[in-house]
Amino acid sequence: MSVELKIVCFEDIFQYESGEKSRFSDEYRQLSAVILLDKQDMASLGVKDGDKVLVENEISKIVVAAKTTDDEPHAGLAFMINSVWSNQLLRDDLCNASVPRFKGITARVAPSQEEVTQISEIVQRLRA
């Protein structure tokens, strides 16, 4: 089972504070490598809070933890905190206004048995 979602990124003060102290800490990874899903999408995927999901598109793929939002219903729309994890999925072609499509990530999400993508793995991908 997988679902196609649009992902919008946002800023979170707790994650930001953690990233200011260290981009390489477990705490920063735990706060960043998370996707916030609507209840309906969580049910469609058969996952509960803390379960791992694979988020994949034509750019890259990452494994992150799923979490249910307490927001109003927004099936088909997911949220991720801005970080190197979310940016792995971001296209670098520019829109008409010459800015990258930071709010226009689309990706397929599916349950995963793998561990959350480590920052060391991301660094290797960037250098490959």
Binding site: F10, E17, E20, K21, E72, L77, N87, D92
Partner: protein
Amino acid sequence: MTTCTGCSLLCEDIELVLKTGAISEAKNLCRKGQGHFQALFTERTKPMIDGKEVTLDQAIAKAAEILKNARTPLLYGWSNSTLEAQTVGINLAKKIGAFIDDTSSFCEGLLMERILNGKIPTCTLDDVRNFADTSVFWGTDPSNSHPRHLSRFSYYPRGEKRQKSYEEERTCVVVDVRKSATAHLCSNYYFRVPPDGDAEFLESILTVLDGKIPKTGDKKRLIELGTILKKTEFGVIFPGPGMIYSMQDKMDLFEELVARLNEITTFKVIPMVGHYNMRGFNQLMLGQTGFINSVSFRGGAAGAATTHGPEQGVALAAKSSDAALIIGSDPLSALPFGTARALAHIPLIAIDPRRSLTTDAAQVVIPSALSGLEAGGTALRMDGTRISFEPITESERLSDEQILTRIMEAI
């Protein structure tokens, strides 16, 4: 007392007690600022070449060598540097014929350009505190991005003409794609827009202001919003990245809305700039080149053919450059995968107080002093107010300005 350089509010009332290895006491410091200053004691950079520790002189000499030999160097970052450092940086770009760009080219630049060119009216945050009765946070969540915005300026404080409590005198409107922390605070006037739906929402407001019924959206609530805006005495819109990414090339429509509002009452706009001196860089660049960012000085200072456009912005310049100097920024973490990967494959010089993905990938790392704590200087707050600050602790590390000056001298 010091100034926090953790965001573009540049709070000047920070009281700190520093002990060995930690901040032992802090007054007026928000969580974001706490993280920013705590970084003083964690993961500081050291002078490095190819992953090996070297002397500062060696690192600076190597940086100069890389830039001197580069055919199409890129100088990127700048939003976390003082005006003094930015000035030297622009001169360095002219001298070596480099691309120069800052973080505004992929966030607030689209709006800042219109503000600095006088196309959209603006005011100071002190005006907001003293006069504003309506604040509209559009595609931004200051509770997370600028934690003291509401308490110092836009919602809670009493001001010259706002002597009563915020419940009586101020209205806070939030337009966002998600119910953010700020939207929870202002839940009566939270307007949810779908992704990429800001232009349509804006057109509906224009329709309501013209006394007509909007064709799309919650008509009742849109009319309610129109009434709030019309009754406003002094309103301020604070657009954030969410609005700008959604509007993209339709910013003319936003300009039209602000003009229409000003036919009815007074409305100003202050962009929710993230980094502490992004506006400073934009203003300096505009004064020297006529453009706020994304400029190439290819040809050098003598025959400088200044060009500007997407090709000169970091997203594309990263792919056409053969070396890059990155200052006070972590593009390998913050930029799209393809751009970050392109940067990771060319010789990088990273000037930064602390370790990041970019410093880890850099051929040359030059440690710098942390502005506001270890280095003084001047910066422009998000509203353009000039703020000067002095260091409050001694440091062996050079400021950005000193490092750039030494690189210039060595080229």
